[in-house]
């Protein structure tokens, strides 16, 4: 994957400039006693978290147990009932972009116009971003003619065209077929390694978490129940013994909650 010269000049130009003029590629993320309740039910219970710039963090957990709420609170789409979210150190405000489970493309705009959303004079940058995700031939198409995987690639291009320092991914690959999912994981990993932004991925797929993340968090009953560092070499080999060990370890921990927790408190709402 080659960096286009326009991209490097844009990165240097406006976005990603720290206070000392140096290129800031990833943002700090700090959560302090973050809490959220829905209709009396505690979804997030005083979560403390520190994520360093450039880290790739995966958040796993059963359906309905707060991981999406956590991500949305970081994105500012939900107002927390307590605690605070702090993104970035001093200097300029870091760019935060989010990918959703559905691509959420505007059906009445072409692929190129969708990628250039919110970017004044963004046609060239959008073209480059689409080339980076391998869709340079589909710029003039309507979203309705694209497949699910292609739509998510457009959504990825749309997120990355803003050169974000923090990229939030809310189960973006959940609706895709297995092969497309693997390709998208490789694409996301490659772009992340190239640009070095901080990434927080929410996923129900433990294998996906082990493939992509430096660090896996398990959210259970509104708290972080597991914080596991994954120190496998990149790019990750799915079949390797070490990979399998990590995956089994996390999976066991995730599933172990069901036996004890479900009986005592009732299943989490999907």
């Amino acid at each position: 994957m080659q960096l286009h010269p326009i991209e490097t000049s844009r990165v240097g130009a406006t976005h990603g400039q720290g206070a000392d003029g140096q290129e800031v590629r990833g943002a700090h993320l700090t959560l302090r006693r973050l809490s959220k309740q829905y209709a009396g039910r505690t979804v997030l219970d005083e979560i403390d978290l520190k994520i360093v710039p450039g880290e790739f963090v995966a958040v796993v957990g059963r359906s309905g147990c707060g991981k999406s709420t956590l991500l949305r609170a970081i994105a500012g789409l939900e107002t927390p009932d307590g605690g605070q979210v702090k993104i970035g150190g001093g200097g300029t405000r870091p760019e935060v972009r989010m990918m959703f489970q559905e691509a959420r493309l505007l059906p009445w705009k072409t692929v190129l116009q969708n990628v250039a959303l919110g970017l004044p004079d963004g046609a060239t940058a959008a073209q480059v971003a689409l080339a980076n995700v391998g869709l340079c031939t589909r710029t003039g198409d309507w979203p309705s003619v694209l497949s699910g995987g292609q739509r998510q690639r457009v959504a990825l291009a749309r997120a990355l065209v803003h050169q974000p320092q923090l990229l939030l991914l809310d189960e973006p690959l959940g609706a895709l077929d297995a092969l497309t999912r693997i390709e998208m994981q490789q694409l996301i990993e490659a772009l992340w390694r190239e640009r070095g932004f901080t990434a927080v991925l929410v996923t129900h797929d433990v294998q996906e978490a082990v493939v992509l993340a430096d660090r896996i968090l398990l959210v259970e009953d509104g708290r972080v129940a597991l914080d596991l560092r994954v120190d496998l070499p990149r790019p990750r080999q799915r079949g390797s013994a070490a990979f399998g060990t990590f995956e089994q370890q996390v999976l066991d921990r995730v599933l172990e909650t069901h036996a004890g927790g479900a009986a005592a408190k009732g299943a989490c709402r999907a």
């Binding site: 789409l77 972009r97 559905e102 505007l106 009445w108 705009k109 959303l117 919110g118 309705s144």
Partner: protein, 283 residues
């Protein structure tokens, strides 16, 4: 990608038998492609033919239903004398003005109430109450308020056109995909840009349904409005002809309304095809 032998065989086969290219399946396809656009007209044409035959043979009295040929002749005479164009122009102006006013008001109020909960709280109940009064039942009141000239007709047309446009616009704005709005907000769109790029296009399919419905409705209301003592217009021409038992002219009037309604519907479809060309359902 078949074996090389099969791809080599195909060009040879067509070179040997060029006439085979105009074989039965190809001919049938060409015939279907040529006849298909005519299919919707087959039934009306058949009916007209039956009608003409029935009139000529004597089953149909010319006072009840004159033959198609007589209607055509009346049409021609009115066109030649210029009367037809005068009436047509007046009716068209009324329809356009009434539609324009009613649709514009319906659009503005629908956008307002759809976007602002406070406005909807204040205004929607009133609108719904007025909606349930049939526009045509207001005629006596309208005559009292506006007299019997153009203002009365304009009022009736506008009131009738207002409600479908208002309801559909309101519904369209309310049913814009909230996920898209959330996404757009998170990408920095707000205010006018959000409205222009997300909310209005999202509401447009519904708005166009309201417009299309109103475009059809305006002709129905026009017929009635033009009977409230008019001096010109297709309704006047038709009413006048009825007084003089010129049933062929009456039929010309009816036919004109049908053609104008069809033309308006085509215009609405054209709007849909342009503004909704991104939607596979409208292609």
């Amino acid at each position: 990608m078949g074996a090389p032998s099969s791809t080599a065989a195909r060009p040879i086969a067509s070179a040997v038998a060029p006439q085979a290219a105009r074989s039965a399946p190809a001919l049938r396809r060409r015939a279907v492609a040529w006849l298909a656009p005519l299919a919707p007209w087959a039934l009306p044409v058949l009916l007209v033919v039956i009608w003409q035959v029935a009139a000529q043979v004597g089953w149909l009295s010319s006072r009840i239903l004159p033959e198609p040929w007589a209607v055509a002749k009346a049409f021609w005479m009115l066109a030649e004398s210029g009367e037809l164009w005068t009436h047509l122009r007046v009716s068209l102006w009324r329809a356009l003005a009434g539609f324009g006013l009613g649709a514009a008001l319906g659009l503005v109020l629908g956008l307002l109430n759809g976007s602002s909960r406070r406005a909807a709280l204040l205004l929607d109940t009133t609108v719904q109450m007025v909606r349930n009064i049939p526009a045509l039942a207001l005629i006596p009141l309208v005559i009292l308020w506006f007299g019997i000239d153009e203002a009365a007709k304009l009022f009736l047309l506008s009131v009738g056109v207002f409600f479908p446009v208002y309801l559909n616009t309101f519904h369209g704005i309310r049913s814009v995909d909230a996920g898209l709005v959330e996404m757009a907000r998170s990408y920095g769109l707000s205010g006018w840009a959000l409205y222009r790029d997300v909310i209005l296009p999202g509401a447009l399919p519904s708005i166009l349904v309201g417009v299309r419905f109103s475009l059809g409705l305006v002709w129905v209301l026009l017929i009635v409005a033009e009977t409230i003592s008019a001096q010109a217009g297709i309704g006047y021409m038709t009413m006048n002809a009825r007084e003089f038992l010129q049933t062929d002219v009456v039929l010309v009037g009816v036919l004109l309304y049908a053609l104008l309604g069809k033309a308006a519907d085509l215009a609405a479809r054209g709007l849909e095809r342009h503004f909704l060309r991104w939607n596979p359902a409208y292609r």
